[in-house]
């Protein structure tokens, strides 16, 4: 079960949207596929993001996975706790291990994003 209140992308990221600000993270499915996360690289606050841009990376023991901007906006804050505790991404992907806080450029940033139900269906059909 994925949290109902969040929006999702096909890159297995989630957004928690509150007005024109969104928290962005990776889904439980994503952390599960990655395995033990040992390294997280995040952008500097102030970085401008365009949808689809690589904004950082998450690495497990075996694999490097790029992070893609799920919406246009400016990075307000990053979760620097993850530099020292990357394993939080495995333990708490929807809560403690949020990655970045973004000021959204578009008033309707949810366009193109998936609902919880749509994301679950996407995972079921795409493994």
């Amino acid at each position: 079960m994925v949290p109902e209140s969040l929006f999702y992308t096909k890159e297995h990221e989630w957004l928690k949207i509150d007005g024109d600000v969104a928290l962005v993270g990776i889904t439980d499915h994503a952390q599960e596929q990655l395995g033990d996360v040992v390294f997280v690289e995040l952008p500097a606050p102030g970085t401008q993001l365009s949808t689809g841009d690589t904004f950082g990376s998450v690495e497990s023991v075996k694999a490097v996975s790029d992070l893609f901007a799920p919406a246009d906006g400016e990075v307000l804050e990053v979760n620097s706790t993850l530099e020292d505790q990357p394993e939080l991404l495995n333990a708490s992907p929807y809560d403690q291990a949020w990655l970045i806080k973004v000021k959204l450029s578009n008033t309707d940033a949810t366009e193109g994003l998936l609902s919880a139900q749509a994301y679950e269906e996407f995972c079921a059909t795409n493994g």
Partner: protein
Amino acid sequence: MSGLKRTPLYDVQKERNARFVGFGEWELPVQYQSVLAEHNAVRENAGLFDVSHMGEIVIEGPGAFDACQYILTNDVSKLVDGKAQYTLMCQADGGIIDDLIIYRQADDSYFLCVNASRSDIDFAHLVEQAGRFDCTVNNVSADYAQLALQGPKSFDILGQLTDFDFSALKPFSWADIVLCGDLSVRVAATGYTGEQGVELYVSANIAESVWRALEECGQAHELSLCGLGARDTLRLEMCYALYGNDIDDKHNPLEANLGWVVKLKKGDFLGRQVLADVKETGLERKLVGFKMLDRGIPRHGYEIQAGGDAIGVVTSGSHSPSLGEPIGLGYVPMEFAQTGSIIDVMIRNKAVGAKVVDTPFYKKG
């Protein structure tokens, strides 16, 4: 993953929820629950790996000894029955065809364990080169499954299945024994992890029985089932070369720090002339271990730079579970090969500083 080969242990591992990946021609388990947990289990207790993808080749006949002496770089005359040795197969130009372990079964019979990805190439090379010696070369890879039981509790676990005295099984010794009364296995005190342990060669048809017996006895000893992910981090911490990453036919043994298995004085062998010349004139580059000075994990294929110039390539790199930091191997020119040399690793178009360190990365105790 259609078209990929499966080992005789595929079903039992599937039952245990292994996650499989394509590895060359093979579909193999990369991990069960956690690479880190599996890695630590081998360092602290014991881990069980399916390494049945490895190839096995037998060379037999009156000329088998001379053939092995000519085709391999280590000195086969040092072997006695029941002993094994790490060795290399080189081209005439010194490039490494494969690294392998040779087991002496008799003075006219040798059993070779080779890399899966190289077994067809190795076999063709052996057949061609052994042709002028009075011996036969047989690829028996399909007959065997191979299990690796590695970690400080390995002998405790095995000891419950046999009366065999494992204290007599010194490193690189092997014996044919029986487990559980009726399971014939070849047990060799070899491995790819740096821990005490064994590799077991068994007939494919009893592989699952052996696996289940070890699993059952292992429960009391915190045995963990392990995949290729942990196998790779364990070997990297020990700086054991991985063919196709750290060594290949474009690199010679001396620059790969494998000069210790090249015996120039044993008589003629394939690659000897070139390797003797290299030893005489000195190396141009060398495989070194390094640690990062800033944040980032080095990975296979990343460029190594110095002062903005490309000087080499990372051959293996990962997070080291035992050390809790990133480690890497790569070839660099001799002027950067000394311990303490500073180099840059290009990670996502950014130069990240690194320092050449003494190897192996991990030392017991």
